[in-house]
């Protein structure tokens, strides 16, 4: 099985450790993951801000970059959601039948990390060790676009040493929403402050999620308020191992 890592533009440029962790984790599970360097960005920001016309060539480029792989895995629920739902809709509207076929085919082979681990590899215990108290924000697009359900929680519960604490109102949006955070900064900040309040109420050391974008938003708020809680991506927790004796 040829597996490609869809890094996502944000992880590539801002939080590369998340992609490195994903590579380490997959290799530990016996997957020799490849990174096609022709990939850049799925165009979600363009699509969600109203620039679908500009996004179309990016959709084409994304589909070309991942041609020939059996599975594409990404540490982002939101980007997987865009590839699986927005790309096919956009390609269909463009009237380009070839692109539509290509995009639909790629959509059916694209997985968010927790889906790939649980559904494709069939593992929930990935052999990780992480002795911390963790709470998990499930992120909107993983929940309501991809329907990953409790897969991330099942993975976390199997991590040795990890104490998982439930996040109150977990399913409520953190207020990131891409350009929403910049176009509606006050409402976004109000949503963030409620999310932070819930995170702090758990007394966890770490707030985790499967999306770096939401984590940057939540982490940015936690850091600003000197809350003493860190954000760590799901991939980084799952990649952690006991320090060898």
């Amino acid at each position: 099985m040829r597996v490609a890592l869809f890094v996502t533009c944000l992880v590539d440029g801002v939080v590369p450790d998340v992609a490195k962790a994903t590579v380490r984790l997959l290799r530990r599970l016996g997957v020799d993951v490849e990174v096609p360097l022709a990939q850049t960005c799925c165009g979600q920001m363009h699509i969600n801000t109203g620039y679908a016309g500009q996004a179309l060539p990016l959709v084409q480029q994304h589909a070309d970059a991942f041609r020939g792989f059996d599975a594409v895995v990404t540490p982002s629920g939101s980007c997987a959601g865009s590839v699986r739902h927005q790309h096919p809709a956009l390609a269909a509207r463009s009237g380009q039948a070839g692109l539509q076929r290509q995009v639909e085919d790629l959509a059916s082979r694209t997985y968010e990390l927790s889906e790939f681990l649980v559904d494709v590899l069939g593992v929930t215990d990935v052999g990780a060790y992480y002795p911390h108290k963790v709470t998990f924000h499930p992120t909107c697009h993983s929940l309501r676009v991809l329907r990953v359900g409790d897969r991330p929680l099942r993975l976390l519960r199997a991590v040795q040493g990890l104490e998982l604490v439930e996040l109150p109102d977990a399913e409520v949006c953190c207020g990131f929403g891409g350009t929403f955070a910049v176009k509606n900064p006050d409402v976004s900040a109000a949503m963030l402050s409620d999310k932070l309040r819930h995170v702090l109420s758990t007394d966890a050391e770490i707030c985790s999620a499967g999306d770096s974008s939401c984590l940057l938003h939540i982490g940015g708020g936690l850091s600003r308020t000197r809350a003493g809680v860190r954000t760590v991506h799901l991939a980084e927790i799952l990649a952690s191992e006991p320090v060898p004796a």
Binding site: G53, V187, D194
Partner: protein
């Protein structure tokens, strides 16, 4: 390449709702109006508590139906059939209403609807009318139009009464006074009731039962005095020409039966083909809106009956931009909406910004879609962006309207509209074009990411950046940004031979 999306409306396209009349447009952009509500702790508290309670009730009664998904699919399918054959069903409805002794009026827009109603009221010799809650007449601004014609209109739903006496605007489809608490309501009753009818007892407390009793006594007099009643409709059944109102307080039934003349104003998408279709909506609506298995009062009426109920019945069918919505294949499913308000109650943006921020009689997620659709996006350009696209609205919508996708679609129309009206690209357009140009070539992209690391100087002293210039200051006003990494992932991948160089080649 980019012209296949969001083309401007061709000549001869159906008209949108005209400006200058009704309540579909705010006078400020959403982010600005929302800031007011965010600064009002009492409002935030009321909204948070009320929406949380309704959400919980709704979830419980929906969860107990094993066939909710099928009901929802059926509701969507019936509405889609109606929208596809609207001309047929509306003509059938007109014929049946007429043969049952009613009169049907067609109103192209809000101004026409208001004029028709005013004329009917004056013809009946009335200077006062009672009303049962109707979104359509709020949309057209009927009360103001009647007042300008010398007619006083009295709202008879408890919440609408509070809003009207408080000289306020409704903030929620179903709970219009959700932004008021009972102490405020007591004050409003004491202050305003006496001036317009039966006064409240000066010893009135803020006990909910006492407040309801004060409203009941005040309204009872109004019902008995009124010659004309005005209602909306939740549905109209084409096969028999029957209208229906679903309500909780019984004031609707009073309005529909006591006065001599009944005028119903209804958006033309509210028609359903048969009584059998009603079965679906009478299950979907109360569970989604008030979280009840069944609503307390469901009234249906067909034409007029000598010696029983109203002796004159008029049905005003309102377009006001609906045909324009119907003409947009990607947007038309917004007309499935049965105004249950479930999407408002789950919306994290609505819960914090409140209804008034939307500037329209239709607030919340569906309002962010419907208002710009009805007026044309040029007049409500900030509403499609008033959402984080979290998708909670789509999940609860009983007729499965994919609100997030429609918001994205309307954002495209806003961008196209701006481009069509200005030759100079906005800074956002320039940014998006530059981003696309960069992202289309992996080489350029890698170089841009490397250049982005120049931002490391911003956070030199800590590993976080605390302040950036506009427009990014909107981000750093409340959140830090991590300092860019030393090396991008792709540079690491190449320089470390896929990480193998680092870990000694596993």
């Amino acid at each position: 390449m980019s012209t296949f999306l969001g083309l401007p409306a061709p000549p001869g396209a159906p008209p949108t709702a005209p400006p200058g009349v009704g309540h579909l447009r705010g006078d400020r952009p959403f982010p600005e109006a929302a800031a007011d509500a965010l600064a009002d702790p009492q409002l935030r508290h009321n909204l948070g508590r009320a929406t949380r309670t309704i959400r919980g009730k709704r979830n419980a009664v929906v969860a107990e139906l094993p066939d909710w998904a099928e009901l929802r699919a059926a509701g969507a399918a019936i509405k889609d059939d109606v929208l596809a054959h609207l001309d047929t069903y509306l003509l059938q409805l007109e014929e049946k209403v007429t043969s049952a002794g009613g009169v049907v009026h067609w109103a192209r827009d809000a101004a026409e609807a208001n004029a028709i109603v005013l004329e009917l009221v004056l013809a009946a010799g009335a200077t006062e009318v009672v009303k049962v809650k109707s979104m359509a007449t709020q949309e057209t601004g009927l009360n103001e139009a009647l007042a300008a014609g010398g007619v006083s209109a009295w709202e008879t739903d408890l919440a609408e009464l509070i809003v009207q006496l408080g000289d306020d605007a409704p903030s929620h489809i179903l709970v219009p006074a959700i932004h008021r608490n009972r102490a405020e309501i007591r004050e409003i009753f004491l202050r305003a009731m006496g001036g317009v009818g039966r006064a409240a007892d000066p010893g009135l407390t803020d006990d909910p039962a006492a407040l309801a009793e004060a409203a009941r006594l005040h309204l009872r007099q109004k019902f008995l005095d009124a010659e004309v009643a005005i209602s909306g409709a939740n549905f109209a059944i084409a096969e028999t020409g029957t209208l229906g109102v679903v309500e909780s307080e019984g004031n609707g039934r009073m309005c529909l039966t006591l006065p001599r003349v009944l005028i119903t104003v209804m958006g033309l998408e509210k028609v359903v083909p048969t009584w059998q279709d009603l079965e679906v909506f009478l299950q979907l609506l109360p569970r989604s809106s008030t979280g009840e298995r069944m609503n307390p009062y469901t009234s249906t009426w067909t034409g007029v009956h000598p010696g029983d109920g109203p002796q004159e019945f008029h049905l005003v069918l309102l377009d006001n931009g609906r045909t324009a919505v119907l003409a947009d294949p990607q947007g038309r499913s917004a007309l499935r909406c049965i105004r249950c308000s479930a999407c408002l109650n789950v919306c994290p943006v609505y819960e914090r910004a409140g209804g008034h921020a939307y500037g329209s009689v239709y607030p919340g997620p569906i309002g962010a879609v419907l208002s710009p659709q009805l007026t044309g996006v040029a007049e409500n350009p900030s509403l499609p962006f008033a959402s984080s696209l979290c998708g909670a609205c789509y999940d609860v919508c009983p007729v499965a309207i994919d609100i997030p996708s429609m918001l994205v679609h309307l954002r495209e129309r806003v961008v196209e509209d701006k481009r069509a009206h200005s030759r100079i690209p906005t800074s956002e357009q320039a940014l998006m074009s530059a981003a696309k140009w960069t992202m289309l070539r992996p080489g350029r992209w890698a170089a841009a990411l490397r250049a982005g690391r120049a931002g490391r100087v911003l956070g030199r002293r800590r590993d976080r950046i605390g302040a950036l210039p506009p427009p990014l200051s909107a981000w750093t006003s409340t959140r830090d940004l991590p300092r860019p990494p030393e090396q991008t992932f792709r540079d690491w991948w190449v320089s470390s031979n896929g990480g193998h160089a680092e870990d000694g080649g596993t």
